[in-house]
Symmetry: C2
């Protein structure tokens, strides 16, 4: 087929099954660690006149059984909701055959981002949370919170959920979505942080999770920080934790650790390692000696490419999506 | 409309009218010169195992009356034709609203590239060729040659055309395409180079246009070189010409001048200026004193964004293209 498959939000949602995505994201972290991936630094276009920016995230990865290439074009426009009723973040993904560069698919990158972000947290949780983790806290009930619970409940038998957000409507929506599957309740940040697994998905610039709130063996996925100046966890949490990052350049620039790192409060000596090192077995995941663990996730372009691969393969198999002759190369 | 407009090859061709495109490309060169554009360096993904690469080309430009943002994802896979019956170069373009970042359109970037490359040559020709230019030579009868003639005949009253290529079939195809409009014939490189305007659009690594072949007042658009090691014109042509470039970083890295520049044969002192400086009036185009002029064009991301802008605006006006709810934001 010499047509490009268009996969809209619903198609992406339907064709990216979480268990397979988690496995693909784990493959991607491994490929990156092993030097089998290429991921040029994100490049930014800053548009202060619109209070927004664009980011381009190209990547290639070779996972052995499969390889994949593509680029995600994504933005952060914080005024979008209030002014235009658009999401703050929107993404568009081009997924290409590495061998010929033919654009196999164009995908909704917004849905893809949420799914792959959830899957990254699940990979980290699988390696770092206690084996018998059954409770999960989530701080922030925005769009990213849903895929956190969906993904993490694939790797641990989560039964009890505490959702914490200042916005009661968002909390109610979240509870509505999951009350049939989990024992779920609204709670304080402190209650959420006592769970076996905690995911933080807020855009705050002043830490909201104090050291004393965190359970003795809690694994934390710090997902919210995505720009300089943002952090969600008190420095003491990071310093006392076994601290795992997705990528050194990205996390020190704009991840959970960026503020204490630039203040010199947290140094490279405080970072245990990269998730890729754990995935390939060069470093240990949770051991009996570990207390709090933290995964600082900024989101890597290889995750998008891996997620697009899963979406495309399934859409072809299920005959989903809309085939479009974008480049005028089809004979049909 | 909260749908993304899909513009395939035919849509791009139909909606990008050359006179307007030339004007938009001129605006883009001006915006870049005036500091009203953002164009992060192209980032590359090299895939030697497939003898290919991907390039990402994001850009934003503010032309005063309009502004535009987007990214082109493009490749060079030289084995594509022989092995897979695919073009060597394929492009996909995402065109976004800078204010909200909504992806307004997805476009065939292959057709777009050919059109904007032709238009860039036309802008340079307009400023650098003799006013009464009536003859045009073209060396290389590949896909880029067609838009060279189409575009340049918009800025000069071209009546006589000489097409030069070793491949007789390509020459015949080219003549077939244009014989109703021009007095056109096959000829040698020397004959082509005697014309008032010459465009070279070949991928050669050893110069094929010798100094003595070039007419006294010929303006040359050197379009072919797009990678280290490639050049089409003898060093003496460049050294004797009024030499104009599109971008210093790109031309010295991979444009017509890259080889003599790195050998030290050609230095910054030999470069007259950038096309943007001429467009905004900071430097002169052709004057009575000028003999040979050369435009070294590598192709800028702002050209793609400007071309996408023209395509999109016209497609909306003409109700062309296919509106697709990629992001799932439409109520329709």
């Amino acid at each position: 087929m010499r047509k490009t498959l268009l996969l809209n939000k619903a198609d992406v949602h339907e064709n990216v099954q979480m268990p397979e995505l988690i496995s693909a994201i784990e493959d991607a972290f491994a490929a990156y660690e092993l030097g089998d991936a290429q991921m040029p630094p994100k490049s930014y276009i800053d548009l202060p006149q619109y209070n927004g920016d664009f980011r381009s995230m190209p990547a290639y990865l070779d996972a052995g059984d499969w390889d994949a290439a593509g680029i995600k074009w994504v933005n952060v426009h914080p005024d979008n909701g209030e002014k235009f009723d658009f999401p703050t973040v929107m993404g568009t993904m081009i997924y290409s055959d590495p061998e010929t560069a033919f654009p196999l698919a164009l995908l909704d990158g917004t849905e893809l981002t949420m799914l792959r972000t959830g899957a990254a947290a699940a990979v980290a949780t699988d390696h770092l949370a206690v084996e018998d983790a059954s409770s999960m806290g989530i701080v922030g009930a925005g769009v990213q919170s849903y895929t956190q619970l969906r993904a993490i409940s694939e790797v641990r038998d989560i039964t009890e959920v505490v959702i914490s957000d200042l916005d009661e409507e968002r909390v109610a929506d979240f509870i509505d979505a999951f009350e049939d599957e989990f024992d779920i309740r609204a709670g304080s940040i402190e209650e959420a942080a006592q769970c076996d697994v905690l995911s933080t998905v807020t855009p705050v610039e002043n830490p909201i999770v104090p050291r004393e709130a965190v359970g003795e063996h809690t694994h934390i996925n710090a997902m919210g920080a995505d720009a300089e100046g943002k952090h969600e966890l008190a420095d003491e949490v990071l310093l006392d934790a076994k601290l795992v990052i997705d990528d050194h350049a990205q996390t020190t620039h704009s991840g959970e650790i960026n503020v204490p790192y630039h203040e010199g409060v947290l140094t490279d000596d405080d970072i245990f390692g990269a998730i890729g090192e754990i995935v390939v077995g060069d470093k240990d995941g949770r051991t009996d000696e570990d207390g709090i663990t933290v995964f600082d996730s900024t989101g890597l372009a290889i995750q998008d490419v891996a997620a697009a691969h899963v979406a495309y393969e399934h859409a072809i198999e299920n005959e989903n999506g809309y085939a479009f002759d974008l480049l005028g190369l089809s004979d049909e």
